[in-house]
């Protein structure tokens, strides 16, 4: 049952019809009988590169981490097996899990300290690790130096020695299939969505509940394990493991498997492996220099013709919308309606010499809608960033439902019940609408790597429930009919609604909205007001930054005014509107700022107000 669903997953993601798959399977199975020894050997190498390609696809294709030293993991797997079998006579099958474990540890060691680096720096660091592994293997006696380690044994399966090229072909074919199924299971789960969200926009992923550092480290570990498997098979097949097999060029060739084939696609990985390992064989007769030269020209031309690779991942996303919706209950919290739910005390934020926030106090009662207004550059978004853990405030306390949030990472803040949206809706643009919402649920899902890999019943139930809840939130904001579109294809107004749905998907107690109405026309604004009203009616506490005064006045029971990093005043919309300091602060700065003319017009109820452009504050 599990196998079948995995297989249909493979089919889905590959966009292949059953008959062509059957033909493909027959060709793969019959290949060793048709081909001679030499071409079967090429087949084994292609399949090994398929396995390696599947591994690097996780790292580069899904998580978006450029890896130029992937052969290090391949080497670690190969050497582990070779040394254990060759020097200590350990049973080959026993070395396989050990090779995987050692490669996983390697992935973690490489990954963890470097994951805070930007992607291009990561490229050179991985390249460096690749070289360090190779040079170390070349210099140590333990690893046999430049000569490497020879393995006398071949694996024995049920008393049958897997020595010949043919049996090796089938063995590696099975491994490629297993790894392919496993990779598909992972990439179609919460974990795969987390990888993609980090690739699309790491900071936003973190801010909507994805533990980005852990997710990236996991990509390295999974990639490492797969390369470790490939290394173990490579070692026993070739019969010798030496540094020359794991050069920078090896890493580049493995990377090319994915880049030529097309990122995030299984068929692509197969085609890529075929090109990378097959082309040189086809051209063998013309001599090494010509062979590589032509391969290089093919690469250049290919990028003109198909810059995304031969068979890039599907353009219409496979993740379907659930048939039925399920409303998640609002999380429990020991705070009665109206009592303070979110308390901010003495919040101070200093960026170098700039005092962005100075001793700000905010109290938000449960179930309330609080408006935060203030001129551009006043520090409103900085309040959100401090409260959600994006930046750590210089001083001050942030307490949600009795629990301090200071020092928490953004994804932990989401877990504790506070979600946010972004100015200008920062979505995961190359993921589908429904996937965006599902990423928002990451903080509320429990399945781990193993349950996802094996598609255990608990994990599948959780995925199904997440799907129904995603349906609920899409219905809630009115985007269900666009669920399978890419987020980037949505209109601006729809993008804003998706941003809200993604935040709601974490089922928050408190929702922070950063200028939700900016750039909307009056009818879109009316729809948005109605939507925020329904969010409030669910019992969600809302804090919103907005310039449009009519919007704020229409929704909020209470309004807080921030100016040059400090709280100017707070009160009912009416009180605030009448406060001469607010009028002065607000109108003084916005006179010639066209982006805020709404605010000017709406706040300046009386005609005399608009003639008060006296202040020009440093922005």
């Amino acid at each position: 049952m599990r196998g079948i669903s995995g297989l249909t997953g493979l089919l889905d993601s590959a966009r292949v019809k059953i008959p062509s798959l059957a033909v493909f399977a027959v060709v793969l199975l019959a290949f060793p009988s048709i081909a001679d020894e030499y071409w079967t050997d090429v087949g084994v190498k292609v399949l090994l590169y398929v396995v390696l390609g599947l591994g690097i696809n996780v790292v580069v294709g899904y998580a978006g981490l450029l890896d130029l030293g992937y052969s290090a993991f391949f080497a670690v797997g190969g050497y582990t097996t070779a040394i254990l079998v060759g020097n200590y006579g350990v049973n080959w099958w026993l070395t396989l899990p050990i090779a995987m474990l050692v490669a996983a540890i390697g992935g973690y060691l490489i990954g963890y300290p470097t994951l805070r680096l930007r992607s291009d720096y990561l490229a050179i660091v991985t390249l460096g690790f690749g070289e360090i592994v190779r040079v170390t293997a070349n210099n140590l006696e333990f690893t046999g130096g430049p000569d490497g380690v020879i393995l006398p044994f071949r694996p024995v399966l049920f008393g049958y020695e897997l020595a010949g090229t043919q049996s090796m072909y089938y063995l590696v074919l099975v491994i490629a299939l297993v790894v392919g199924l496993g990779a598909t299971s992972l990439t179609r789960s919460k974990i795969g969505r987390s990888w993609e969200s980090v690739r699309e926009d790491e900071r936003v992923a973190e801010a909507v509940g994805v533990p980005s550092i852990r997710v990236k480290a996991l990509a390295y570990v999974v990639g490492g394990v797969i390369a470790g498997v490939a290394g173990a098979f490579f070692a026993t097949y070739i019969g010798i493991v030496s540094p020359t097999s794991f050069t920078f060029l090896t890493s580049v060739l493995i990377l090319l498997v994915v880049l030529i084939g097309g990122r995030g696609s299984l068929v692509g990985v197969f085609l890529g492996a075929l090109v990378v390992q097959g082309t040189p064989e086809v051209l063998r007769s013309i001599g090494d220099e010509w062979r590589i030269f032509l391969f290089a020209v093919v690469l250049i031309v290919l990028m003109f013709v198909r810059p995304l690779g031969l068979w890039p991942a599907r353009t219409r996303r496979g993740a379907r919308l659930a048939q039925s919706a399920e409303e998640p209950p609002l999380p429990e919290v020991g705070v009665a309606p109206g009592e303070p739910l979110l308390e901010v005390r003495g919040l101070t934020m200093r960026f170098g010499g700039l005092l962005a926030l100075n001793d700000v106090d905010i109290t938000v009662g449960r179930g309330e809608v609080l408006g935060v207004i203030g001129p551009n550059g006043a520090g409103k978004t900085t309040v959100f960033n401090c409260v959600t853990g994006v930046v750590r405030p210089t001083a001050g306390k942030v307490v949600l439902g009795g629990e301090s949030l200071i020092g928490r990472h953004p994804h932990q803040v989401v877990q504790r019940g506070m979600a946010r949206t972004f100015q200008g809706a920062r979505l995961f643009s190359d993921m589908s609408v429904v996937e965006n919402v599902l990423v928002g649920m990451t903080a509320r899902m429990n399945s781990g790597v193993l349950t996802s890999l094996l598609r255990l019943p608990a994990q599948r139930r959780e995925e199904q429930r997440a799907g129904r809840q995603a349906r609920y939130w899409l219905d809630f904001v009115g985007l269900s009919d666009k669920a399978t579109r890419f987020a980037r294809e949505l209109s601006y107004g729809d993008q804003r609604r998706l941003d809200i749905a993604r935040a709601l998907a974490s089922n928050p107690l408190v929702l922070l909205l950063d200028e939700p109405a900016a750039g909307m026309n009056p009818s879109e604004k009316a729809d948005l007001m109605e939507l925020i009203g329904r969010i409030r009616d669910r019992g969600v506490t809302v804090v919103l930054i907005e310039h449009d005064m009519a919007f704020v006045m229409g929704l909020c029971e209470r309004v807080l005014v921030i100016e040059t990093g400090a709280k100017l005043t707070e009160g009912s919309p009416y009180e605030v509107q009448q406060d001469p300091r607010v009028i002065e602060a607000y109108l003084g700065v916005d006179e010639d700022d066209e982006g805020d003319e709404d605010a000017d017009g709406d706040l300046g109820a009386g005609p005399d107000d608009t003639t008060a452009p006296t202040l020009t504050k440093g922005q």
Partner: protein, 303 residues
């Protein structure tokens, strides 16, 4: 102490090569966010061309100083032209394509240039004609046993002059300003009337030219050339650019000299075979502490 001084001088010389080549990496990266793997091969082409010119002109009776200058100019021009042509044909059509596609093209171009050279010039090492005043016996003796050869002095002096010139060009001229603007925001630069294609080409031409000069000096210094020499040196230079803070011109210079020194000390005090481990180990250590390199600006966190 004398050992240390000698290692320092050797390190600065090698560092000058790295720095010159690192500049091209960093400029191209700054402008189109491309790790131009073919850049080291521009260096190699410069070295081969210089070797050709030197072979042709030594023995022609021209003074050897003039021969060296002709070789330098010819190789620099040839490498610059190659850089410009590759930008036009290979990279510019893909500027809007995903970054990784550009990376594949760069890898393809690198292999094409290397093996194109191998096909026409052979795969062995070729020796470079002997130039009298650049040989090891012509040196300034500093303290006893520590020697700065004329060749080393020339390499360091020419490199420093070129780096200062480049810095002035980028900060003082119109095209230089256009390059810096382009690095910040390509669309805005285009809207402000910057000729984006021309500026990108100019960046490649200058970067490749510097690599060509470095290639010539390398050929004269080591006196031998090989079609894969650019790959290995390029890897080091790329490391230097990242160490200094990629996209940052003074960073590439600092990174180049640092890597050169590090390599020289590692070879002298540890062992040549561990040099790579030391160099990359230090690089990783620096990046863990300063994620944007030594002089790289901190990228502001914005959400």
């Amino acid at each position: 102490m004398n050992d240390f001084l000698q290692y320092t001088l050797n390190g600065l010389t090698v560092g000058a090569f790295y720095a010159l080549v690192a500049l091209g990496y960093t400029m191209v990266y700054g402008i189109i966010r491309l790790l131009n793997f073919a850049h080291g091969d521009f260096f190699m082409v410069g070295a081969f061309l210089a070797t050709g010119v030197l072979s042709l002109l030594t023995g022609s009776g021209l003074p050897s100083g003039l021969v060296v200058v002709v070789a330098l100019v010819a190789a620099t021009a040839a490498a610059a032209a190659l850089g410009g042509v590759s930008a036009r044909i290979v990279y510019l059509p893909l500027v809007k394509a995903p970054k990784l596609s550009l990376l594949v093209s760069a890898l393809g171009l690198s292999l094409a240039v290397e093996y194109g050279t191998a096909l026409s010039q052979g795969t062995g090492f070729r020796s470079v004609p002997h130039i009298g005043f650049l040989s090891a016996e012509h040196a300034i003796g500093l303290t006893d046993g520590v020697r700065l050869t004329y060749a080393q002095l020339g390499v360091i002096a020419v490199s420093l002059a070129l780096m200062i010139g480049l810095y002035l060009y980028v900060t003082r001229t119109f095209t230089g300003t256009a390059m810096r603007v382009l690095a910040m925001d390509q669309d805005a630069a285009r809207l402000m009337g910057v000729n984006v294609e021309r500026t990108i080409m100019m960046t490649f031409i200058i970067g490749a030219g510097l690599a060509g000069t470095a290639g010539t000096m390398y050929a004269l210094y080591y006196p031998q050339v090989n079609f894969l020499m650019g790959f290995l040196l390029g890897l080091r230079a790329f490391t230097a650019a990242v160490l200094g803070g990629i996209g940052n011109i003074p960073g590439a210079m600092v990174g180049g000299f640092l890597i050169g020194l590090l390599e020289s000390y590692a070879t002298g005090y540890v062992a040549g075979r561990w040099t790579d481990v030391v160099v990359f180990g230090v690089l990783i250590g620096v990046l863990v502490i300063r994620p944007s390199g030594i002089l790289g600006e901190r990228v502001a966190e914005r959400v």
